[in-house]
Amino acid sequence: MFRPSIDSSAAHRPREGSAWGWMPDLLSRIAADRGDGAFRRLFEEFGPQIRHYMIRHGADAATAEELAQETLLAVWRKAALYSPAKGTPATWMYSIARNLRIDRLRKEICWQELSDEVAEAAASEDAAPDDTASERQRQQRVHAVLAALPGEQREVVTAAFIDGLSQSEIAARLTLPLGTVKSRLRLAYQKVRAALEDLK
């Protein structure tokens, strides 16, 4: 059975100025102009990361490519439905990729709803410029928290979010007590939560 190794967390240190920083802009543009340029840009910017994510979860190259395309096509199709109230577009893209991974690679029931399916999904609203700005702000805050996380916390967070390892799998992999894994995840959670508190 394929077991992804936990690689050095440095590889997942958020890159400054990465494409994801301006993702709200890109998705707003897709929603607005729906041109071929925006479409290709979407695949150029975000395809490789999603493909790599799938490969880390045991997908062969062809499957990983297919799942990356499927993720981005879903983003494209739903871009017009995008509303900032439902989460940032980056969140949305990650959620689609995560759900496809659970469904296709882990072959389990996916209990995470996509944000646009969440119970009180309201009618889509146009993203007001200041909504988009506050999204960028949210992303920047999370980016800053993750960049400042002590290595031992980042390692555990990366193992969960990128490698999809359960808490007990992380404990076994890092030879840590389960309680330590839980408390590191909890500490990171509290920091992210505190950083976003005033942007509600």
Binding site: A11, R13, P14, A19, W20, F39, L42, F43, E44, G47, P48, Q49, R51, H52, Y53, A61, Q69, L72, L73, W76, R77, A80, L81, K86, G87, T88, A90, T91, Y94, R98, N99, K107, E108, I109, C110, W111, Q112, E113, S115, A119, A121, A123, S124, V142, H143, V157, T158, A160, F161, L165, S166, Q167, S183, L185, R186, A188, Y189, Q190, V192, R193
Partner: protein
């Protein structure tokens, strides 16, 4: 009916759920709680941003992903489905939808005096257990411990154990090593969704 939810999910559990890294039965219980709790729903959404940021920052060797032929046009904003309000049926929407189940159709299996269970099927490869548990008023489960994490979400009524009272929407997290003996509310009993990572350990 709508008492505020006072017992929420642990931060570590929210993180693992947002990461898609919880065992399937535990994820089911989290989704049930989240469907009843706006606060935890917001937190799950926020935590997915952690995944998005890490994914966006990943070095991605292995080249590009070809853009397929562009679809005609993105589907325009459809009239959003009318908001799903909590219906009279008390099963949380994700559970009702997945299992095509309504509270009044559940076929209960009697486990003992005042204790009934209805097991919910998991994927073939999934580990753990997922089931609905009904406790008659004042009836107790045997004292038990756990081999792994266990989540209990109250769907109707309430239960109490040594750690206090749990009411509709509340979630209780127990981990390996902890022991408890929940008792159905003296007046109305309770129905809960229980998710366990490992087997019960009965304490006699």
């Amino acid at each position: 009916m709508n008492t505020p939810i006072s017992r929420h999910l642990d931060g570590a559990t929210l993180m693992s759920f947002a990461a898609g890294a919880l065992a399937e039965p535990l994820a089911a219980a989290v989704s049930a709680h989240v469907s009843m709790c706006g606060e935890c729903r917001d937190q799950v959404r926020d935590m997915a941003l952690v995944g998005a940021t890490l994914l966006g920052g990943a070095l991605a060797p292995g080249g590009r992903v070809a853009a397929p032929v562009m679809p005609e046009a993105p589907v325009l904003a459809e009239a959003a489905a009318s908001p799903r309000r909590a219906r009279a049926r008390a099963l949380p929407a994700p559970i009702a939808r997945r299992y095509g189940l309504a509270m009044e159709d559940i076929e209960w299996t009697r486990l003992g005096p005042g204790v009934w269970q209805h097991r919910l099927a998991l994927s073939p490869g999934a580990r753990g257990d997922l089931y609905l548990l009904k406790l008659a008023p004042g009836c107790r489960l045997p004292l038990h411990g756990h081999a792994g994490d266990e989540l209990t979400v109250v769907l109707t009524g309430a239960f109490t154990d040594a750690s206090g009272e749990y009411r509709v929407g509340d979630v209780q997290e127990a981990d390996a090593g902890s022991e408890h003996q929940p008792m159905g509310d003296r007046n109305v009993g309770c129905i809960c969704l229980v998710a366990a990572e490992g087997p019960y350990i009965l304490k006699g």
